[in-house]
């Protein structure tokens, strides 16, 4: 009996060792590419050519930065501002109007409600890639290419966000609160703005992060619609780094990548708790 339990505890110790080793290796695989990138951003092309991998930073950060002044097709500041405008605008549109639609779906009883909800669920997964040709041709004939608004306004109809918000309202909105607001004489629209929206704060925060990051990282739609250099968003700016101009500027390429990736890592570190716990909210419910 005792020898059995001993072998059992030895087994579980062995399993634990394996678990930690695997997890640490995976953690290194997660971080390593970004670390190599950051270090290489501070090294010049000769150093990178002779030893492409190094863990110790060097002192050529400024030289690499100057490359972008001499060859200015990659403009991180412009990209950052454009991405900021598009992501902020799209996030606000998606959050506000999706909440409004979700409220319509869960607080009122109307004839087409169930059909409408089923429709939203049905079109939730249709990706931009499938509708792009028609979308582009429409935008092109309206002369709206290179207009950032065209990436913001369509966010008003975000079926996946409506779906998530409705799930949240179903579980956390009590009609009594709405009724008492009505008795106090608040209009329906005002009730939504001043009572329902604050109730949805936790869901809004989670969704805000995912919509923001999703819009920030999007490549396909901006790549098709934005062709002017001054309108390009961050992911398109990044795609310019593999152009011929920067062919031998290894350090500058790594610096360019670092400029686009570092802000995301910083934001992620600050918000990681909410992000990791928010991932499963939509799916598990």
């Amino acid at each position: 009996m005792s020898s059995q339990s001993l072998s059992k505890s030895r087994d579980s110790f062995l399993i634990k060792v394996v678990v930690y080793v695997v997890c640490i290796i995976l953690a290194i695989i997660s971080i390593m590419p970004f670390w190599i990138m950051l270090v290489n951003a501070t090294r010049n092309s000769e150093q990178i050519s002779s030893h492409p991998i190094s863990l110790i930073p060097s002192s050529h950060l400024i030289d690499n930065k100057n490359v972008f002044e001499k060859k200015p097709s990659f403009q991180p500041v412009t990209g950052f501002i454009n991405s900021f405008i598009v992501s902020t605008g799209a996030t606000v549109c998606a959050l506000y109007f999706s909440s409004l639609t979700a409220y319509a779906l869960s607080a009122y009883e109307w004839k087409l409600r169930d059909g409408f909800f089923k429709f939203i669920m049905g079109v939730m997964m249709i990706p931009a890639q499938c509708t792009m040709i028609g979308f582009f041709k429409m935008i092109y004939s309206l002369h709206l290419t290179n207009n950032l608004m065209i990436l913001i306004i369509p966010a008003v109809a975000s079926p996946a966000v409506v779906f998530f918000m409705r799930q949240y309202l179903q579980s956390s909105l009590s009609m009594e609160i709405v009724q008492s607001a009505r008795i106090d004489g608040a209009g329906e629209f005002r009730t939504f703005n001043s009572i329902v929206l604050p109730i949805m704060k936790p869901a809004l925060a989670t969704q805000a992060i995912f919509i923001y990051v999703g819009t920030w990282n999007e490549l396909f739609r901006p790549l098709v619609i934005l062709t002017e250099g001054s309108k390009k968003t961050m992911p398109i700016m990044v795609s310019l780094l593999n152009g011929d101009i920067y062919r031998v500027e290894y350090g500058a390429i790594y610096l360019g990548l670092a400029i686009t990736i570092l802000p995301l890592i910083v934001v992620y570190i600050i918000l990681s708790k909410y992000i990791v716990s928010g991932v499963s909210l939509g799916a598990v419910k």
Binding site: C23, P33, L100, T101, M132, G134, I253, I261, L264
Partner: protein, 331 residues
């Protein structure tokens, strides 16, 4: 009582849905229908006005051309590439995610630092895919680059007649496909793991206790209890990953522009190339390809719809049945 009052308010249900519906009609439904129409026409060329497009004498000619073509750069090959790269990323992804889920949710051996590990495994998912693609391209660069330096240091230790030349990894079809799959795997296994863990946490702990009392081993518990209980989430992960995989664009497009020799050209890259990089700007072919993908994705969405259907009602029905049975038994 509640019902009577809200009937009066029904019109607000319609009013509050107006912005969504209007935006949907303009920016999503109209483009879909427009894409479908273009798929049946002769619309080519960047500056060709839409008014001059005509339905082809055989409306399905674009579809026939697309589906008939074979070899590098054909739609069939692109569909094949997409499926191969998705499968090669999904199988290891789900396997690793399940393994990690089993480890992290095991009560008997509490793994410390789980929070940190989760955060680190999820990290690549948050990074711009475009940046990740260029970063890996830099790692694979030829003739000098990080992976090449690892390769030459290994070869020079083990082989005496190593010529010291670099290797162009991105010229190797299988290798480049493998890299695309690896990047997708690397970016998504953390996400899948977090979803699965949430699913396992949702299982009634009493079931696990019962299994432990009955003397079930960890492996038995995992395969006989955990996996059946998270079946819905597994299916959800499968379908969403398939839809995402069918639209794979950023990584294959930027890693090696769909190359070498079209080996990593996915269907989304194909659509982009036909419409915006082909000197003839073949919008009609691109639209036809979009419609084919659209149909495939709609079928998958219906599967998802079926998975996510309202289970509470069904369970309630089952419960009532059981109750009735139990009552009969007592009687």
């Amino acid at each position: 009582m509640n019902k009577k009052k809200s009937v009066n308010y029904a019109k607000f249900g319609y009013i509050f849905s107006i912005p969504f519906v209007v935006a949907y009609l303009i920016f999503q439904l109209y483009p879909v229908l427009y894409t479908v129409v273009i798929g049946f026409t002769d619309l080519e060329g960047l500056t060709t006005p839409v008014s001059s497009m005509h339905i082809l004498s055989n409306p399905f000619q674009n579809f026939i051309d697309i589906l008939k073509g074979s070899g590098a750069g054909s739609f069939r090959l692109c569909l094949f590439n997409t499926v191969v790269m998705w499968v090669c990323n999904f199988i290891p992804q789900i396997a690793l995610a399940l393994l990690l889920t089993a480890w992290f949710t095991d009560d008997r051996s509490k793994i410390k630092g789980q929070g940190l590990f989760k955060v680190l495994f999820y990290l690549p998912n948050i990074i711009t895919a475009a940046s990740v693609a260029i970063l890996f391209q830099a790692f694979l660069s030829y003739p000098i680059g990080p992976l090449n330096s690892i390769r030459s240091s290994i070869l020079s230790t083990f082989s005496s007649n190593f010529d010291g030349k670099g290797y162009n990894f991105l010229n190797n079809k299988a290798f480049t496909r493998g890299v695309v799959s690896f990047i997708q795997f690397w970016m998504w296994y953390g996400n899948t793991m977090v979803l699965l863990i949430a699913g396992v946490i949702g299982i009634d702990p009493a079931i696990f206790e019962a299994a432990q009392i009955d003397g079930a081993s960890r492996t038995q518990t995992f395969f006989k209890i955990t996996i059946p209980c998270i079946r819905t989430i597994l299916l959800y992960v499968l379908v969403t990953s398939m839809i995402g995989g069918l639209n794979m664009f950023d990584i294959p497009h930027l890693l090696n522009r769909g190359g070498p020799d079209g080996a990593t050209t996915t269907t989304a890259v194909y659509i982009y190339k036909q419409a915006f990089q082909n000197p003839r700007y073949q919008y009609n072919k691109a639209a036809a390809a979009s419609i084919i993908m659209f149909v495939i994705i709609m079928i998958l969405t219906l599967c998802l719809f079926y998975i996510l259907r309202d289970k509470d009602e069904e369970e309630l029905k089952k419960l009532r049945k059981k109750e009735r049975k139990a009552l009969k038994h007592q009687a």
